[in-house]
Assembly symmetry: C2
Homo-oligomer: 283 residues x 2
């Protein structure tokens, strides 16, 4: 529900699209793209040989597009890790998402025909370029696909809702906890380990994404380590108590204050250990 929560559509574990990784120029069929998108292509679409999509490689630090640049294509991540950022009116970067395999970039450029955010590669990346004209024409060519295409945008929107909700109502600890779990699930879905993985981004970037400072991110990770929810060392993380990480909350509703279980106040911040709360407080 947090970051790039990929579909529940019985994802058939997309086979790696195309073999040679470092060709510099590579092409995908419509069927490949659909599978990457988590969309089940129809027979008609599967057979289509007339549309092919170009791949492009980016190295860490490179930009796929920048704010204000004329919009002409969507980008579909085939491999690698990236971030998208907005620049607020004070000139600060604000991280909006950490796209990875299967995610679509550039959607926010459709409306005003120019990208409203910036996409930066955090590692070497391989992305499929989908010219928007081609994208929209697909809906006409394969009407069965149309719903899926709108679905792609809708999915992005739902994710943003969840993000806004989390930012507004969860404590810093809870946000970091969920962030880790979301990453874990994402990695699992790609065939990597969901328990042990590397953060591809800095504390600063995580903080910006989660609406807190890098210091708070660092402190929270240290605290989680101390109480045994995870093990951290730099950017390598091992999750040890996923349940605890994902069930943290805060705010005895402010609405359920009135009615509902009038006993058991502080119990809402449900930690696994009794001691946990104190340890966290003691930071």
């Amino acid at each position: 529900m947090f970051a790039q929560s990929r579909i529940a559509t019985s994802a058939p574990f997309n086979k790696p699209v195309a073999g040679r990784q470092r060709a510099g120029q590579l092409w995908s069929s419509l069927a490949d793209v659909c599978s990457l998108l988590g969309v089940t292509p129809t027979v008609a679409a599967t057979a289509a040989d007339d549309v092919v999509f170009q791949h492009v490689q980016f190295k860490a630090g490179q930009r796929l597009f920048t704010i204000g640049q004329p919009f002409d294509a969507l980008y579909l991540v085939n491999s690698g890790f990236l971030k998208t950022v907005m620049i607020d009116d004070a000139g600060n970067e604000q991280v909006l998402s950490f796209p990875m395999k299967g995610d679509v970039l550039g959607v926010d450029g459709i409306h005003l025909k120019q990208y409203m955010s910036e996409a930066v590669a955090l590692s070497s990346c391989d992305v499929v370029v989908i010219p928007f004209k081609v994208f929209s024409s697909l809906g006409r060519k394969y009407p069965e696909l149309e719903l899926s295409l709108y679905g792609v945008l809708s999915r992005e929107l739902t994710r943003e809702h969840a993000m806004a909700s989390a930012l507004g109502s969860l404590s810093a600890e809870a946000r970091v906890g969920r962030f880790l779990v979301a990453l874990s699930e994402r990695y699992s879905a790609m065939g990597y380990s969901g328990k042990e993985f590397n953060l591809r981004m800095t504390r600063q970037e995580i903080g910006s994404y989660l609406g807190m400072t890098l210091e708070t991110v660092s402190r929270t990770l240290s605290a989680f380590d101390r109480i045994g929810y995870i093990a951290v060392e730099g950017r390598s993380v091992t999750l040890k108590d996923m349940q605890a990480l994902k069930t943290m909350r805060r705010l005895p509703p402010s609405q359920s204050r009135s009615k509902e279980v009038p006993s058991a106040k502080k119990l809402f911040t449900n930690f696994s250990f009794e001691a946990a709360e104190d340890v966290l407080a003691a930071v």
Copy 2:
């Protein structure tokens, strides 16, 4: 940039769609709908008489759709005020938006074919029902319209980005300030006064939307009143210093900390009056 920031597409001040307000059953043409959407219809579309859209009325408190309900239509607000909410896993309502004339509801239902949020009327409302099948078929029938349709979804997404950004990086005061300005601009665009207007929602709902408690909302409004930015009395508000309201910030970037003007620390919280800061602090 905050709430329902309506397009910059030279909005031609949509004429009120259809005359009789209290008919209970009313119909709009495609051209009407396009104009409400802020989309310029092509001649072909303007002439189209074969598609008509049904209106439905709702009274304050009524729900247009609820979470989990099968998705089949988008709703376009013609008049009235509403809120959309999500229910988080603790069972709390979280306000996601305050839609009004020209806004589209239900977009988040496309992906999984069921609504992911709930829409509630805050006042009497008149909405246009757009069956999703009709919506998507329009793209095929009038290819020139297709881009606009995707644009509608893209616009929603951009708005959410701005919201997430604001939640993550602005102080409570700044968020309330911008919220008021956004409302004002919205009302102006509809032909109402942008200086004097009524809040249609409770402090609780504002707080939920802005990620703070109702008490903080109340206190902030009182403080704005005290220093002369606005005049409040219950739900009626008069804006007196829009500039001040919209330019509040916080967080000497944490990134521009390194370089940039090393002097003038606290100056970033740019208020119009020197005294303002103290007054706010004295609350």
